[in-house]
């Protein structure tokens, strides 16, 4: 049982495990194999690893070509340079033809830290959500990351897996269900529901603990799949709790907060607030300092929940 691991290491290990089972699986990287950790796969399967150099748009189209030829390409680079720089290639060359290409994009969100605003992607989920037929998985820990890789391989068509850089605690177990499109309740509660995803899941759980001490019974739901979205879970929890707070390491525009808002609008009278990046760019700093600066803390979640219940 792994207690702590970077999601990207878990991603690299999962690719190797998957690669052993399915010879059609190949991995493409754009000179970042030692950062995305596809280097683990490259070492095990040098003939099935393709470096495309620093040319992400070509790598997307090449992946479409690989899929056309019957391979199952896993495409990796930083989230911003895949989902951002090569957005239109993902839309036209991959999703438009429902090509069976899997994107495992790392270094998403604020947790990139010191590299700063040019490398911190707060909009990748928003960009991918706009694309018809795209599945979006946002694992919260090493175990979920492995499950996401295997789930992606099972899905026919394009899948986006959002992988984060830092070493994080394991908070789920092998037995925790991971069904794409089905949100995971992590903690039961009836006063307010914290809906969260990815690295923010443990922060939400910590906030729920603190709220319990204040006699607020907060539920926590892990939306490891942003698309297809578990609308039913959102409505059920909103009706049950009457108040919803979303928490994500992504812009509040276009990500989980928007997805929840789209479900609630016209369907629920629950009170609602969104925690995430508030329409801003990032900057350099240690991830823990940046999380504090941008309000991605258990303390801020507690305060927002209190304010909403107030």
């Amino acid at each position: 049982m792994i207690e702590k691991q970077s999601l990207r290491v878990s991603y690299g290990n999962a690719l190797v495990e998957l690669g052993r089972k399915d010879s059609r699986v190949v991995v493409l990287d754009a000179d970042l194999a030692h950062a995305t950790m596809t280097s683990i796969f490259a070492k095990e399967f040098p003939d099935r690893f393709f470096n495309f150099g620093i040319a992400e748009t070509n790598m997307v189209c090449a992946a479409a070509g690989f899929a056309h030829a019957g391979l199952v390409p896993f495409f990796s680079t930083f989230a911003l340079f895949g989902a951002g720089r090569a957005y239109e290639m993902i839309r036209n060359s991959i999703a438009y033809v429902d090509a069976n290409v899997k994107f495992g994009l790392s270094h998403s969100g604020l947790s990139v830290g010191e590299d700063g605003g040019s490398h911190q992607s707060f909009e990748d989920i928003a960009l991918m959500r706009e694309i018809p037929g795209m599945t979006i998985l946002v694992p919260c820990d090493p175990i979920e990351t492995r499950k996401a890789v295997f789930a992606a391989a099972e899905i026919s068509g394009p899948v986006y897996i959002r992988v984060a850089r830092p070493i994080v605690d394991t908070i789920t177990t092998q037995d925790t269900p991971f069904v794409p499109g089905k949100a995971n309740p992590m903690r039961d509660g009836s006063d307010i529901c914290i809906m969260t995803t990815g690295l923010m899941v443990p922060y939400a759980l910590a906030a729920a603990e603190q709220l319990a001490a204040k006699n607020i019974n907060a539920a926590v739901v892990n939306f490891h799949t942003i698309k297809p979205f578990d609308n039913q879970c959102v409505l059920e929890m909103a009706n049950k709790c009457g108040a919803v707070v979303t928490v994500e390491e992504h812009s509040v525009i276009g990500g989980l907060g928007s997805a929840v808002a789209e479900v609630l609008a016209g369907n629920s009278s629950a009170r609602f607030a969104r925690i995430g990046i508030q329409d801003k760019f990032g900057r350099s700093g240690k991830p823990e300092h940046l999380f504090k600066e941008y309000g991605l803390t258990a303390e801020n979640i507690v305060n927002q929940c209190m304010a909403l219940k107030g």
């Binding site: 150099g53 070509g65 056309h68």
Partner: protein
């Protein structure tokens, strides 16, 4: 090689292109008319394809990276028997399988979606890498435009083609020298394209892009092991219709009734044929 009169074939394909564009009142005549001989060479004399089995596993892949020239591709595919010729007159209309730009999910015989420039040749490169990996012996042909070669992606793909030693890939340039806003030279000079591809590691040839047998000879000429091939086809935009020829204004404009009738008369194709 099929025993056909390819010159006659080219004349009829041009007639079909004009009829499609006239009927739908939409589409790109200039770049369609310039690549007719390239497509005829590929589909009738070079590529291993089977209209009765469009998904044949070891078929050669033909990628029209300059996707806006698809009326020419559709006319050739219909003539080959991939779908009925009558379908051509539904071009760009709702419920037609003939989209404004090639769509592999809708049109039999189309292998790759193109239209967003630069992406087709890049996908073709990916197919060629995958074919080598899978030890498949089919070949991949990508037809690009000269305006298209202004896309950075074209050169990312070229670099990868040399790096991965893709002697199963041929990039064919329909070099008609014109684009939407004017000549290449005026809009964005592409310079000596032969030298550029040579520098990128391709084996390069230059041919008259309206001589089918010459194109075929270049496409069939063996290349050095590990070298991708580049065939620069010198062509004229709007070829075959005097008032469209070498006119950038005919890039994306459908002919009026009078223009259509004049063009068909000049080609010697009966509009009811």
């Amino acid at each position: 090689m099929e025993n056909i009169n390819v010159t006659e074939k080219a004349r009829r394909i041009r007639g079909d292109i004009l009829r499609m564009l006239y009927t739908s009142q939409s589409g790109h005549p200039g770049g369609s008319l310039s690549c007719v001989e390239i497509l005829i060479s590929l589909y009738y004399q070079v590529a291993n394809v089977d209209p009765k089995n469009p998904k044949m596993e070891n078929r050669d892949r033909i990628v029209l990276s300059k996707g806006h020239a698809c009326p020419a591709l559709y006319a050739v595919l219909a003539d080959k028997g991939y779908f009925p010729r009558e379908d051509l007159w539904t071009l760009r209309q709702i419920d037609s399988h003939l989209q404004g730009h090639p769509d592999s999910t809708k049109t039999p015989g189309v292998d790759v979606n193109t239209g967003s420039l630069g992406q087709g040749v890049s996908i073709a490169t990916g197919i060629a890498i995958a074919a080598k990996h899978l030890k498949a012996d089919y070949k991949v042909y990508a037809i690009i435009g000269d305006g298209e070669s202004q896309e950075g992606l074209v050169w990312e793909a070229a670099m990868a083609a040399a790096h991965y030693k893709l002697d199963n890939l041929t990039v064919i340039l329909d070099h008609n020298r014109l684009q939407i806003d004017g000549s290449n030279e005026e809009v964005m000079d592409i310079g000596d394209i032969m030298k550029k591809y040579e520098a990128f590691g391709f084996e390069c040839m230059k041919v008259n892009g309206h001589e089918i047998d010459t194109i075929t000879a270049a496409l069939k000429k063996p290349v050095g092991s590990g070298k991708p091939k580049f065939v620069c086809c010198d062509t004229f935009k709007g070829r075959g219709v005097s008032f469209m020829e070498d006119q950038f204004g005919w890039h994306g404009k459908a002919p009026s009734e009078i223009e259509y009738l004049d063009a068909m008369k000049e080609l010697g194709v009966d509009t009811n044929d």
